[in-house]
Amino acid sequence: MSNLNMVEAINLALKQEMEKNKDIVLLGEDIGINGGVFRVTEGLYKKFPNRVVDTPISESGIIGMSIGMAIYGLKPVAEIQFEGFTYPALDQLISHAARFRNRTRNNMTASLVLRSPWGGGVKALEHHSESPETYFAHTPGLKVVIPSCPYDAKGLLISAIRDKNPVIFLEPKKLYRSIKQDVPEEEYAIPIGKANILSEGSDLTLITYGSFVRTVIPIINSLPYSIELIDLRTLSPIDYETIINSVKKTGRAIILHEAPRTLGIGAEISALIMENALLNLEAPVLRVTGYDVVTPALKLEDYYRPDEAKIKRAIERVMNF
């Protein structure tokens, strides 16, 4: 057991999986000697010189190549330097990575992992604070995983690497170094597709993922309500059973995310609740999200991201409906 931040936990997962599985190859921009711009791959090039590959600035190329590598029996784990630069690779992800299995009726699969820093709250330039998760989650054939703490990051990344499908692994960069946790030295896998109930409650179900999981814990603790906190962990395939069971118990639900509201994950979960737990509801299901605007640059970013006041207001509204 050691006390690690998320960067270190991910690094440890990569190292341990690479030791075990010689087919794992990391590729991405500046991930070799430089260890990646966030230092997530620090030291790995030294340990596995042939298996940590620096690439030219070719995001479509990185993912397109990864598809070929996966088909040929390697396990590519690609790093896209920032989430805003996954867009040049969307064609390869949507048109090919997600489809090879279906297109060949299981004859070939592109089981790659795409890792990328994700989300805002770090006062960065344009394109460096985006929440593109819906694009991926809306694509049949891809899985989408977002950890909310170092412990989960290690266990979920190990599962992502062992998964037989293409997995998009988004790392909340706000949490990269802001929290530390005891992380077991040995390997462990946290299942993809299962949400995590972080605290049980009977009044309200609060559903979120990524860095907002950390934001809401003190808020929940400061309020007089019994709130059940669900960390989705996986956005696709979504664990609707856990969500529905919880809402059937509490009768109230709020979904919280940073991504724009319209057609976001919150809309999907809200619809799921309507279809499966309507008669249990005591109040409307609310979404607390970013606005449907271009992610603002750092000066105005705080006006965009849901803050404590906004979250509390939503909770009061639902509780006093």
Binding site: M65, G68, I71, D91, Q92, R103, R105, N107
Partner: protein
């Protein structure tokens, strides 16, 4: 000021329209090889005309014809080893046939059944790729993995002139060069991308010269001359096997429509088409074979009849296949998620009622 770089592009042609081959350049091919090339070009053409006919009868989906491109398709494929890989776009049916891919499965594919591409791995090919240019990056990844495993395989990535305008083409060329990968970039330059002529696709005089910018060799070949295509790809495979990527531009012509949904007479003249018809790659090889006593009327008749029989049998087999509608669910992931299980239950109810 001084010149720091000059370049030249070679063009290979071995056999002219009159079926006369340059003995000095003629590749080493046995009589049997030459006959086999002829037979493969014929069956490619028979497949093609059958596919068009089936589409007209509503028995096939939209189909992309290959008439006129047979020398490029077969000559290149024939120059590779079976352990080498072919990464097709959508006009390489003849390569599948050459690799003994079940022809009925090709028909299944073009009839709109994904199962038609379910044995590609067994013949070291990728499935047909429709988004133009994207498959070139897969070839780079395959080649990277093969080199990583210390193998000695070559990866022939097929595309056409239109694909050279895509970003993925440039990324693939660059990556193959940076990592010194065993990739042959095989351009079937059929001079049109739907209605867009080559002159509106690129300002370059040749496609071959695009390789120079990436640091490797590019060669232009008479794509209607099966001996030239074979020779060039044979040479390319040797180079690629030593980790030198290479671009081969086969200058040919699409005699048919872009697809069965297209009418090429809208954008090109009959004069132009008949000029290229006079350069027909199969006629050219046949004349060569007649001159060199490699063929006789009997033989030609038999080759055609055999091909027709094989194609007819394949069509019959393809059309006897029953599809399972539930297959649309089964291969999205390795296992059905709970979400998909739920949707499958709903699907079953809908299908029954």
């Amino acid at each position: 000021m001084k010149v720091i770089k000059k370049f030249e592009i070679k063009r290979i042609g071995i056999m002219n329209e009159k079926g006369i081959a340059n003995k000095k350049l003629m590749p080493r091919l046995s009589k049997e090889d030459i006959k086999r090339l002829y037979e493969l070009m014929i069956i490619t053409r028979v497949f093609d005309s059958k596919a068009i006919a089936l589409q007209r009868q509503g028995r096939l989906g939209t189909y992309a014809p290959t008439l006129g491109q047979e020398a490029t398709i077969i000559g290149s494929s024939y120059a590779l080893k079976r352990s080498d890989w072919i990464i097709p776009s959508f006009r390489e049916n003849g390569m599948f046939i050459h690799r003994n891919y079940p022809i009925d499965m090709l028909f299944q594919f073009w009839a709109g059944n994904e199962a038609g591409m379910s044995k590609v791995k067994e013949v070291n090919m990728l499935p047909v790729a429709i988004p133009v240019g994207t498959q070139l990056l897969h070839a780079v990844g395959l080649a990277f993995a093969s080199k990583f495993k210390n193998e000695n395989n070559v990866f022939m990535a097929c595309f056409s002139d239109g694909a050279t305008s895509t970003g993925d083409f440039h990324e693939a060329m660059n990556l193959a060069s940076v990592y010194k990968l065993p990739v042959i970039f095989l351009c079937q330059n059929n001079q049109y991308a739907i209605s867009t002529p080559l002159s509106k696709q690129t300002g370059s005089e040749t496609i071959a010269q695009k390789a120079i910018a990436y640091g490797f060799e590019g060669i232009q070949v008479d794509g209607n001359d099966v001996f030239a295509v074979y020779s060039a790809v044979k040479y390319a495979a040797e180079k690629a096997r030593k980790s030198n990527p290479i671009l081969i531009e086969c200058l040919t012509y699409r005699l048919g429509d872009h697809t069965t949904s297209d009418d090429a007479s809208k954008y090109r003249t009959e004069k132009e088409v008949s000029f290229w018809r006079s350069k027909d790659p199969i006629d050219r090889l046949r004349i060569y074979m007649q001159k060199n006593k490699l063929t006789a009327k009997e033989y030609e008749k038999k080759v055609l009849e055999d091909a027709e029989k094989i194609i007819e049998d394949a069509v019959a087999k393809a059309e006897s296949i029953k599809l399972n509608p539930e297959d649309i669910f089964m291969h999205t992931y390795d296992e059905l998620s709970n979400n998909l299980k739920e949707q499958l239950r709903e699907f079953r109810k809908n299908v029954k009622s």
